[in-house]
Amino acid sequence: MSDTENGSAGGDEAGAEQPAEGTTPEAAQSEASTAGAGAEAPAEPPAEPPAEPPAADAETASGEPPESLVFSQHATWGGIVPITLLNALLNIITLTLWRFWGRTRVRRYLWSSTTVNDTPLEYTGSGWELFRSFIIVMLAIFLPIYALMFAGQLLLPPEQFMLYFGLAYLPILLFFSWLLGMAVWVARRYRLSRTTWRGIRLGQTGSANRFAWASVGYSILTSITLGWFAPAAEMRLTRLLWADSFYGDRRFKVPASEEGLAGPTYGAFALAWISGVVGYFAFIAVYMFLVWDTIEAGGQPDFDIVLLVKIYAALLVYMIIVGVFSLPYAAALLRRKAEIVTFEGVTFSIKATTLGLGWIYAGNFLIVALTLGLGLPIAQMRLWRYIFNRLEAQGEIDIAAIRQNADKGPKSGEGLADAFDIGNVI
C-alpha cells in the first residue's frame, strides 16, 4: 500500500476530451487566467472581476485569493453498507464478475465523500475500464505464461525437467516480482488519472519499468538485510511515485535526496522487527511442544486435524502479536509519507497515532473476518476516513492558477493489479 495516504485518490474521467472542447466559445473568459500562470509578476487582473477582496489577491497569478487546503471525510456506515450489501449479493450471483463494477462504486463513494475546501473529489473510472483491462491482461500476459509452462512440461525430457525448472526458477521469480512492480505503478496511474477535484485531473508520469526494477532491487536489498532495508524501500518507492505525480499541470515535490527519507520510522520498525523475531522463535517453540511426543518417539508428526488446528491457532496468535507491535511502524510510515510530499509549497501531515490506527486495523480485521471478506468496503471506508480526517495541509496556494492536466491517463484500468489481487487495495 505504498500509496495509501492522501494520494491514493486518483483520477479523472475515462474518455474526457480536451477541456477546451467541452466549453463553448462563450466560456472564453476563463482563458484569461492562463496568462500569468507561473509568473511572479502580479497578473493584470483578468477580465473576470473578482467579487472578493481585490487587494489581497493581487499577488497571485490567477488574481484569485490564495487558499489553504482543508481536507474532510464524510463517509458513513449508512452510506457504505448499502453499497457493500449490493456488491456482496451481485458478486455472489455473478460468480464475482461484478467485482469491477462493485469496486468502482466503492471508490466513487469514498472519493465523493472526501472534500477539499468543501468540494468533493470525483472518481471518474468505470467498471468497464477495469473489466476490459483485466481481460487484456489475462489474454496477453497470463494465458501465454500458462501456455509456455505447459509446453515446457511437455517438451522437456522428464528426467531433466526439474533441472530446467531449477535453472529457470530465478529468472521466473525476477520476472514476477518485476510484473508486480509494474502492476503497482500502472494501477496507481489509473487511479490518479481517474480522480478529479474541481474538474481537474490528478495524474502520474514517468516510467513503470524504472519503478518496477527499483522495487525488485529494493526487495532483494530487503532480504539481504533481513528486512532492515524495508522502511527505506517503502519510503523510496513512495518518493518515486510522488515525484511523478501531478494535480493538473503542477507536479508534486519530494525531497531531492533519498538520504534520511525513512529515518523517523526506524525506531518503530525496530520494535516491529524484534517482536517479529522473538514471536517467531516463540512460535517455533510452541510448535515443537505440540509435536514433541512424536518427535521424541522418533516418528513423523501425525498431522491430524486437531494438531493442525492447534498449530494454526498458534500461528494466529503469533500474527496478532506481530501485528500489534507493528502498529507504531504503520503509523510512523503514514506520518512520514505525508511529510515528504509537498505541492506548490504546501506541506502535508497526517496525525496518525498508534492507538488510533490500531483501533482501525483491529476493527477492520474483525469486519473482514466475520463477513468472510464481503465487508471489505466497510474496512476500506474506515481506513480512508481515518486518513483523510487526519490529513492536514500547511501553507497557501493559488489554486485558481492551476490548469487541466493534459495527460488523460491510460484507456483502461488495472488488470495487472487485479490479477495479483492487489487491485482491491485502495
Partner: protein, 435 residues
C-alpha cells in the same frame, strides 16, 4: 444557496457550482434552459451546453446532481434543492429510473455471462474433455505420464520387487492390456507408501502401494483393482481429467482473478465439488469396464466386489477403534472441553466414500459374468508379491535431494495439477482409498 426571490412571476433562479474543466476554480452560476441549450451564467462567464449532449454523472452522497457535457471535463453540480427545480426542465436527463434500470441490466447481463461460463464448466468441459482426451496424441500423453511417474518417484520409495513378483505383475498387466485394448503399454509399479492406494497416471503407468497389497487377501482382488485402473488408462480418463482441470482452471482464473474473498471461495468450492462429481462418474465407468475386462481375461469378476467389501470393513474397524477410544475416555468422565472438541472435529471430518454401494453394484453385475475358476497367478507368485517392500526398499533419492525437489515442486504451482492427475486420488485421506 438559492435566493428565494420574491417575484412570483419570476421563479427563483437555479443556482449551481461550475468547474470549467480547465482551471481549478469553482464558479457560482445560474442555470437556465434556452431552447435546446442549457445556459450557465456566472460573474465572469457565460456558456451554453447543448441539451442533447448533456450527460449525468453519479449523484454525490449529499444528493447533489452532477452534469457535464459529452466528453467534457467541466462539471456543473446542483444541490438537491436546485436539482429539484431543474428536474422539470430536463426530465429525460434527470430521470432517476434510468440509473436503476442501468444497474439491473448490467447485473443481469453479468449474471447471464457468469451462468454461461459456469454452465460451460459444468456441462461443456466434461462433454469436450473425453473426445479431446482421445484426440491427444499418444506420445504427448506418454510424455506427460513419464513426467508424472518421475514425480511419483521423487515422493515415494520404490519397493525392491523380486523378479518373479515383477514377472507375475507384468503378466497380469499384459493380459489386462490385451483385453482392455489399451493404447498404452501397462506399466505396473509397487511403491512404499504409508497408505493403501492405487492410481493410474497418464500414459499407462499404474502405481500400487504396498499397504494396499498387504490389505488384500487374494491375487483376484489385485486383478480387480488393476482392471479398474486399466479402464482408466484405456478410456483415457486421466487425460480427460487433466484437460477438464486445466480448462476449469483457466476459466476459473478468468472468473475470479487472483482474488481471495468469499465470492471467490464460493466459486472455487463449486468447481472442486464439480470435479469430485466427475471423478465419481469416471470411477463408476471404470468399475463397469473393469468387470468386462475381468470376464474377457477369465479372472474372478467377484474380486472387485470383494475388494470393496474389504475396504468397507477396514473403514468400520477404524471407526470402531475411534469410538472405543471415545467410550473409554467417556467412562473416565473427566474429558476436558478440549478433548470433546477434538472428537467433534474428528467425527465431522470422518467421511465415507460410497464403497458399499459400489460393492453391491459390482456384485450384482458380476453375478451375470462367467469365470472358469482359473487362478490369476500361482500361490508362490502371490506370496512373493505380498512380501514386496518387506524384503527391502530401494530409496530413489537421498532425503536431501527429495527435500530440495519437494520445495521446488511446491514453488512450481502451475505444474502441480498435472502431477495429481489421478482421478482416484481426489478423496484420498488416510485410511481410505480407491481401489
Amino acid at each position: 444557496m438559492p435566493s428565494i426571490s420574491a417575484m412570483s412571476s419570476d421563479p427563483a433562479p437555479i443556482i449551481g457550482q461550475f468547474a470549467d474543466g480547465d482551471t481549478a476554480q469553482i464558479h457560482t452560476v445560474t442555470v437556465a434552459v434556452e431552447d435546446d441549450r442549457l445556459a450557465l451564467t456566472g460573474d465572469s462567464l457565460r456558456l451554453y451546453w447543448r441539451i442533447k449532449r448533456l450527460r449525468r454523472l453519479p449523484d454525490r452522497p449529499d444528493g447533489s446532481v452532477v452534469i457535464s457535457e459529452d466528453q467534457s471535463d467541466a462539471r456543473l453540480s446542483l444541490d438537491p434543492d436546485n436539482a429539484a427545480r431543474l428536474r422539470p426542465l430536463l426530465p429525460k436527463l434527470l430521470d432517476d429510473r434510468k440509473i436503476r434500470r442501468g444497474t439491473w441490466m448490467l447485473g443481469g447481463s453479468l449474471t447471464a455471462l457468469a451462468a454461461g461460463l459456469a454452465g460451460f464448466m459444468v456441462y461443456g468441459l466434461p462433454l469436450l474433455s473425453t473426445p479431446l482426451a482421445h484426440a491427444v496424441p499418444l506420445d504427448v500423453e506418454a510424455r506427460l505420464g513419464a513426467r508424472s511417474n518421475q514425480f511419483v518417484a521423487w515422493f515415494t520409495d520404490e519397493c525392491e520387487t523380486p523378479e518373479a513378483a515383477q514377472a507375475a505383475l507384468d503378466s497380469l498387466g499384459d493380459r489386462l492390456e490385451t483385453v482392455s485394448q489399451s493404447p498404452f503399454e501397462l506399466k505396473l509399479r509397487i511403491v512404499d507408501a504409508p497408505f493403501p492406494n492405487a492410481f493410474a497416471l497418464p500414459g499407462g503407468w499404474i502405481v500400487v502401494t504396498d499397504d494396499l497389497i498387504d490389505m488384500m487377501e487374494s491375487p483376484d482382488e489385485l486383478a480387480g483393482v488393476l482392471a479398474h485402473e486399466a479402464a482408466h488408462v484405456a478410456q483415457r480418463h486421466v487425460m480427460a481429467a487433466q484437460l477438464r482441470e486445466m480448462g476449469a482452471g483457466v476459466l476459473l482464473e478468468f472468473l475470479i482473478g487472483g482474488g481471495t474473498g468469499a465470492g471467490q471461495e464460493i466459486a472455487r468450492t463449486g468447481a472442486t465439488l464439480e470435479s469430485l462429481r466427475h471423478s465419481r462418474a469416471a470411477e463408476a465407468e471404470a468399475d463397469d469396464y473393469a468387470l468386462a475386462y475381468l470376464e474377457a481375461a477369465d479372472m474372478n469378476p467377484e474380486a472387485l466386489a470383494d475388494f470393496f467389501d474389504r475396504m468397507q470393513s477396514v473403514f468400520e474397524e477404524l471407526e470402531a477403534e475411534a469410538e472405543d477410544e471415545e467410550d473409554a475416555a467417556e467412562d473416565d468422565s473427566v474429558r476436558s472441553h478440549q478433548e470433546r472438541a477434538e472428537d467433534w472435529l474428528r467425527a465431522t471430518l470422518r467421511t465415507h466414500p460410497d464403497t458399499t454401494r459400489r460393492a453391491d453394484t459390482a456384485r450384482e453385475a458380476a453375478a451375470g459374468l462367467s469365470w472358469s475358476g482359473a487362478a490369476v497367478m500361482s500361490d508362490e507368485d502371490w506370496a512373493a508379491l505380498d512380501a514386496v517392500c518387506e524384503t527391502g526398499v530401494r530409496i530413489n533419492d537421498t532425503a536431501m535431494e527429495r527435500a530440495a525437489d519437494r520445495i521446488a515442486d511446491v514453488l512450481s504451482q502451475p505444474g502441480k495439477d498435472e502431477d495429481e492427475a489421478v482421478s482416484d486420488e481426489v478423496d484420498a485421506q488416510p485410511g481410505e482409498e480407491q481401489e
